[in-house]
């Protein structure tokens, strides 16, 4: 460490900072250390594990895309339009963020369950019901992940500044053109960060998914639910599956950071 011209960093800051690192990294390091690699590969060869991993990745990706398609416009409305009740709306849409996921699952059941307020008419009209289907998993993921997407994209849109929108308007651009050619490109790093956040939240989703959809291999059993049920019978297998999750999340995060999040720049 080079000498800081402003003086040494105080121990009262350095010690808690070091503790924070320990708390965050120690469990992961120990987990990696106590997994045996052959067992890991065995686990990956099982049909259930592959199904669950595929289901996790695919539902998270679809959920993230849906959250983007719906969430980006909502973020724009919150960042750019002035209307009564905007603060209230913003407060309400982040509720799923702080809600215990199992409560989110119950709420989804009440609305979209087979006898739910929307679920029942939907079932009568189309014969389709969300619970216990892969689309139910996606719905649960969207519900819990979209607030993260909306809030972080809204922040990015605000930071990108509405004065560029004004400049585009003086050049004759419609609001849609401005959105497409100015607002979104300027906020792109923040939008991607929001997508990553939403994807990660969705990948780890457990409570709402299992409450709303149960745990059926191949249909609704994602990695977190598989790990949970495996742990009850076979701790080593659960450990191996957990490591797979860790590797998938970390590699996606790093791939995107290199490309989009501008690591090293401020």
């Amino acid at each position: 460490m080079t000498r800081d011209p402003l003086g040494r960093a105080p121990l009262l800051i350095l010690v808690p900072a070091a503790l924070a690192v320990v708390v965050l990294l120690l469990p992961l390091v120990v987990m990696v250390g106590s997994t045996d690699l052959p067992g890991l590969l065995d686990q990956l060869r099982t049909e259930t594990a592959r199904q669950a991993l595929w289901l996790s990745v695919s539902t998270s990706t679809v959920a993230m895309l849906i959250a983007l398609v719906l969430g980006l416009p909502l973020a724009w409305v919150l960042a750019r339009l002035r209307f009564r009740g905007r603060s209230l709306l913003r407060a309400l849409i982040v509720v799923p963020m702080v809600l215990p996921p199992v409560v989110a699952g119950i709420a989804l059941r009440t609305a979209f369950g087979r006898s739910g307020t929307i679920g029942e008419p939907l079932l009568d009209a189309t014969g389709f019901a969300f619970p216990y289907t892969t689309w139910g998993v996606v719905l649960a993921h969207v519900f819990v992940a979209m607030p993260f997407v909306v809030i972080s994209i809204e922040g990015a849109l605000r930071a990108a500044g509405s004065e560029y929108d004004a400049a585009a308007a003086t050049l004759g651009a419609s609001r849609w053109t401005t959105f497409r050619r100015v607002t979104v490109p300027l906020a792109l790093p923040g939008i991607v960060a929001g997508m990553v956040l939403g994807w990660a939240r969705s990948l780890g989703e457990f409570g709402a998914t299992i409450t709303f959809n149960g745990n059926y291999p191949g249909t609704t059993q994602t990695m977190p639910t598989l790990i949970y049920v495996t742990r009850q019978a076979d701790t080593d297998a659960a450990l191996a599956l957990s490591l797979v999750m860790l590797v998938v999340s970390v590699s996606v995060l790093f791939a995107l950071r290199e490309r989009w999040l501008g690591v090293g720049t401020t």
């Binding site: 004065e163 400049a167 585009a168 003086t170 053109t177 300027l186």
Partner: protein, 329 residues
């Protein structure tokens, strides 16, 4: 009628009525916070205003910004950072439906006209301040607005760069047949670029006239300072005199008591061959003294001095331009 007729109030900021003919360059001058930028915002439609803005007989008030035909060069330039200089200039043309190749060709012509054609592929952050300002001007002019609003176009540029760009802009504005409103706090911009000058002070119009008229007979302390004159308002008349005409002494001078002030030196700074004093003497007055006199009289900030001016050195004119403009006492 053709031309621009503005009669607007931006609540809490500015109330202005003005007219401008096609081809005319109207400078809007005034101190910081006088409401100049609010006025531009009201004309462009970016700031909510009461009143009317009529362009060639058409009321702009109900129109959204993009349909007003008003081009803006913003003080912060606001070049789109993710687009090249060329794409920035082509942006307006593309938005109005010009096909891409044609828009780019036209944009390149504008960049060439402003002498920066070879920088077409650069992003704004790879341009110097003067180059970026040229791109901003090209971007605003490329779609032939009926009104061009320039907000402090030379702010933040090096003195030499600003001088060069000012000369160039004179040429471009001469060949532009629309109306130009140029907001500035710099007297040189107003005097060199404008056909007429509108002085705003404290949210209202203080003076309108030709650059020569405004410079010779300022009606606000701000403009007087900018052009290096003292102006004092006494009832309905203004009394104006040059800082070189002021005599500075430590003791109360003999003779006429009419143009006599006692005050404290606020600052002393070189100005050409002289030292220019700013003196708090009721009104704040400026006086030029020789460096020798400055040293001999000890004219430092805080010094108490007497200022006097011969009546023959004072130009007196009335508040209302309709009246015979020179009132000799």
């Amino acid at each position: 009628m053709s031309g621009l007729e503005v009669d607007v109030t931006v609540p809490g900021r500015v109330t202005v009525a003005l007219t401008a003919e096609p081809g005319e360059v109207l400078a809007v001058i005034g101190p910081n916070g006088a409401g100049k930028t609010s006025l531009l915002g009201a004309v462009a439609g970016l700031v909510a205003a009461e009143g009317t803005v009529r362009l060639n007989g058409r009321e702009l008030g109900p129109l959204p910004v993009r349909e007003r035909g008003v081009g803006v060069v913003f003080q912060d330039k606001l070049l789109f950072p993710h687009l090249s200089a060329l794409e920035n200039v082509a942006f307006g043309l593309r938005s109005s439906g010009v096909p891409r190749p044609e828009a780019r060709a036209t944009a390149l012509q504008w960049l060439d006209r402003l002498g920066i054609g070879e920088l077409a592929g650069r992003r704004p952050k790879e341009l110097s301040g003067g180059q970026a300002q040229r791109v901003a001007i090209a971007r605003a002019l490329a779609q032939h607005p009926d009104v061009l609003l320039l907000d402090e176009p030379f702010a933040g540029l090096d003195v030499g760069v600003a001088a060069g760009l000012r000369i160039e802009l004179t040429r471009h504005l001469a060949s532009y047949d629309g109306i130009t409103l140029l907001v500035t706090h710099d007297a040189i911009d107003a005097l060199t670029l404008a056909d007429r000058v509108l002085v705003i002070d404290d949210g209202v119009v203080a003076q309108v006239g030709t650059p020569g008229d405004v410079a010779a007979r300022p009606r606000t302390e701000h403009v007087a300072r900018l052009v290096g004159l003292n102006v004092i308002r006494q009832g309905d008349v203004f009394r104006c005199f040059a800082p070189g005409a002021v005599t500075v002494s430590l003791a109360r001078p003999e003779g006429s008591a009419r143009n006599l002030w006692r005050g404290t030196v606020l600052s002393a700074a070189p100005h050409g061959d002289a030292i220019r004093l700013l003196v708090a003497a009721g009104p704040e007055l400026i006086a030029d003294v020789t460096p020798v006199a400055t040293r001999e009289l000890g004219l430092e900030p805080g010094r108490e001095v007497w200022l006097s001016v011969k009546e023959t050195a004072v130009d007196t004119y009335s508040l209302t331009p309709e009246e015979p403009d020179k009132v000799r006492p």
